[in-house]
């Protein structure tokens, strides 16, 4: 029993004993967390605007990254490739609106969710078919070198990515809170039919939202792809985003950020310090169990709105 307690406490001593290493682990966690936040942000945007939980978000990240790499492999310079990929994501948004969302506009949300699962599989197969299944290297011109800052090793690529993500997230947060379009989007999320009946152009809004979501997916894809190569495990990130959404609430942009960071850091720290106690790979389930724990205490997540049920 004492051994068990000692084993659980030991990691804290480890942390205290090597603070610079701990900071590096933290930074790694923050980087991963930002990535999760970006993916979660894509979910939140779509959910806020259309009430749909887009399960295919992860695959959209992958698809965006694949398209970018594919174009660059065929000789397009980075900037052009980015623009073209953006165009592809917008086209994808149009197609999804026309073929999936519009026919299902009056169905219950669970049906829409399941349709996005179908979309997920479709895009996975399609992406693989068009661009090939092997891991690809993504080089956006930012060197993957590290420099030292006060004894802590910081990676230049990760830093750039983190800053980009932070900027993007702030812009989106402001957009939703302050602008007229942001308000319209929130109205749409509440009730499609009502929004339609007061003249909000549902179709346009959906295309806009899914395109923006595609852009977010692209940034996330670039970040992740540049770091670890573009491969199919990217689509599993969607599943990881779920605990982030639980923590942060499904409709809160700041929540997605906070949730992502908590999960990212929590996961990394748990894996590095407590993982060896139980043979490692805690990362596989830690996020979900953490989210589960939160849910039991606060069923609406950290930032979510309390659900008031009426009879």
């Amino acid at each position: 029993m004492i051994d068990l307690l000692a084993a659980l406490v030991a990691p804290f001593r480890e942390i205290a004993g090597a603070p610079t290493f701990f900071v590096e682990v933290l930074l790694g966690g923050i980087f991963a967390g930002l990535l999760y936040s970006l993916v979660a942000l894509g979910f939140v945007l779509i959910f806020k605007a259309s009430g749909v939980f887009n399960f295919a978000q992860g695959v959209m990240v992958l698809f965006a990254a694949l398209t970018l790499v594919g174009l660059m492999e065929r000789g397009a310079p980075v900037m052009l490739a980015l623009v073209l990929t953006m165009a592809v994501m917008v086209a994808l948004a149009f197609a999804i609106e026309k073929l999936v969302l519009r026919p299902l506009v009056n169905q219950e949300y669970i049906i829409l969710f399941m349709a996005t699962i179908g979309l997920n599989f479709f895009l996975e197969g399609f992406g693989e078919m068009v661009w090939g299944a092997n891991v690809k290297r993504l080089d956006v011109g930012i060197p993957d070198r590290s420099f030292m800052l006060k004894g802590v090793q910081i990676n230049q690529l990760e830093l750039t990515a983190a800053i980009t993500a932070a900027v993007l997230v702030t812009v989106l947060a402001v957009f939703f809170q302050r602008t007229r379009i942001g308000r319209a989007l929130r109205a749409v999320a509440d009730d499609h039919e009502a929004a339609l009946s007061i003249g909000i152009p549902l179709k346009t809004i959906w295309v806009v939202v899914w395109s923006v979501s595609g852009l977010v997916a692209l940034v996330a894809g670039v970040m992740w792809g540049a770091k670890s190569g573009v491969q199919f495990s990217l689509s599993l990130i969607a599943l990881k985003a779920l605990p982030v959404l639980i923590l942060g609430g499904f409709t809160s942009v700041p929540g997605a950020i906070a949730g992502g960071l908590i999960i990212g850091v929590g996961e990394k720290v748990a894996e590095v310090y407590w993982g060896p106690l139980v043979g490692g790979a805690i990362e596989n389930w830690f996020a979900y169990v953490l989210a589960l724990g939160f849910l039991l205490i606060r069923p609406q997540g950290l930032f979510g709105e309390k659900i008031i049920e009426r009879v």
Partner: protein, 358 residues
């Protein structure tokens, strides 16, 4: 004309509440069952039994389990793979620890273990609903797979990390292991599936099924009527996990022969969910239809190019399969969100009127 119910009056409530109130249905189902038990073992090729019929029955059982939880009780679950894994590993441990135990009993016990685990992971369902509950089940899925990977006791410390079904006999006939023939294994999975489908049907047409559907449709009104949500939901989790556990045990013992945890990963959970969606949520028949569909589509895709005189590389075939699955799900949800079972019902309605248009 043939399918008319004219002249069939039910004079007791018992007759009205029978599973197949229409005489033609009873006849057809009886004939169908007899055919199902006799024809494939005698006539079907090894390929058809091993690649189609046996997995179909096993998947149907898993789909049935998931349908009870998600379709009837309305609790979305993405942990089916994990619960099947519990059944498989429990069966393995029980079978290897008690070699004299009848394998069918082993399956039942494995199902019970799975039911217990399902019960545990169902506890959050009182506080958590909808998508949030799906996350709780994901926690179950990932945690259970990790557990079976890490704890070598589950695989009896085999260095390969795989579990292999030990040979067992029932009434002197080899049922599991390398010597068990496909027809024998088919009859066993068929028998189990039919039995458990009957049990499921009995449950859903009575008090239990009604309380599940009440919670699914309007949980607050259900509570005000007197249905207690937690016991109702826990029962759904337990029974659903029992079915998935038995299916998981059969998966290894009667189909694959041996397996690793990768056989039970999140992909399996989604596959079974697709079967339930395409087949029809809230329908016993739908679970079977959905399973048949999911089993047959890859077979069709594998063979269609040959029939069309095209030859496709394996990777491309897999990709097209994924695309077709995805597209079909979307298609079904648009055209008939209630799945193949509803299409079947509509066809039957039309058949009652045939050859008249209305």
């Amino acid at each position: 004309m043939i399918y008319r119910e004219a002249g069939q009056f039910k004079t007791t409530y018992a007759a009205d509440q029978a599973i197949f109130p229409i005489l033609q249905d009873r006849v057809l189902v009886t004939l169908g069952l007899v055919a199902a038990f006799l024809l494939p073992p005698l006539l079907a090729s090894e390929y058809w039994l091993q690649a189609v019929l046996i997995p179909f029955m096993i998947y149907a059982l898993a789909a049935l389990g998931l349908n009870l939880l998600t379709g009837y009780a309305g609790q979305l679950s993405l942990g089916t793979g994990g619960f099947m894994a519990v059944g498989a590993y429990a069966a393995y441990k029980i079978a290897t620890s008690f070699p004299g135990l009848n394998i069918l009993l082993v399956f039942a016990l494995a199902g019970l273990v799975s039911a217990g685990v399902g019960l545990l992971f169902g506890i959050p369902s009182l506080r958590i609903k909808g998508f949030y509950l799906a996350v709780a089940t994901l926690a179950a899925q990932f945690f259970l797979i990790w557990l079976f990977n890490k704890v070598a006791w589950f695989v009896n410390y085999a260095p390969s990390g795989t579990i292999t079904a030990p040979p067992r006999t029932v009434f002197g006939v080899m049922v599991t292991g390398p010597l068990a023939t496909a027809p024998v294994r088919y009859v066993v999975v068929l028998g189990v599936a039919v039995l458990l489908a009957l049990v499921a049907k009995n449950l859903v047409r009575g008090r239990v099924g009604r309380s599940w559907m009440a919670i699914r449709d309007r949980d607050i009104a259900a509570e005000i009527i007197g249905i207690r949500p937690l016991p109702t939901k826990l029962l759904a989790f337990a029974i659903s996990s029992f079915y998935c556990g038995v299916a998981g045990a059969e998966f290894v013992f009667l189909y694959l022969g041996s397996a690793e945890t990768t056989a039970f990963d999140i992909t399996l959970s989604f596959l079974v969910l697709f079967m339930v969606i395409i087949g029809g949520l809230g329908s016993i028949l739908g679970s079977f239809l959905g399973a048949a569909f999911i089993v047959l589509v890859p077979i069709f895709l594998t063979n269609a190019p040959h029939l069309l005189h095209l030859s496709l590389p394996v990777a491309l075939q897999k990709q097209i399969e994924l695309m077709v699955f995805g597209a079909l799900i979307i298609f079904f949800l648009i055209v008939e969100p209630h799945g193949l079972a509803r299409l079947w019902q509509i066809s039957k309605e039309k058949l009652r009127l045939w050859p008249f248009p209305h």
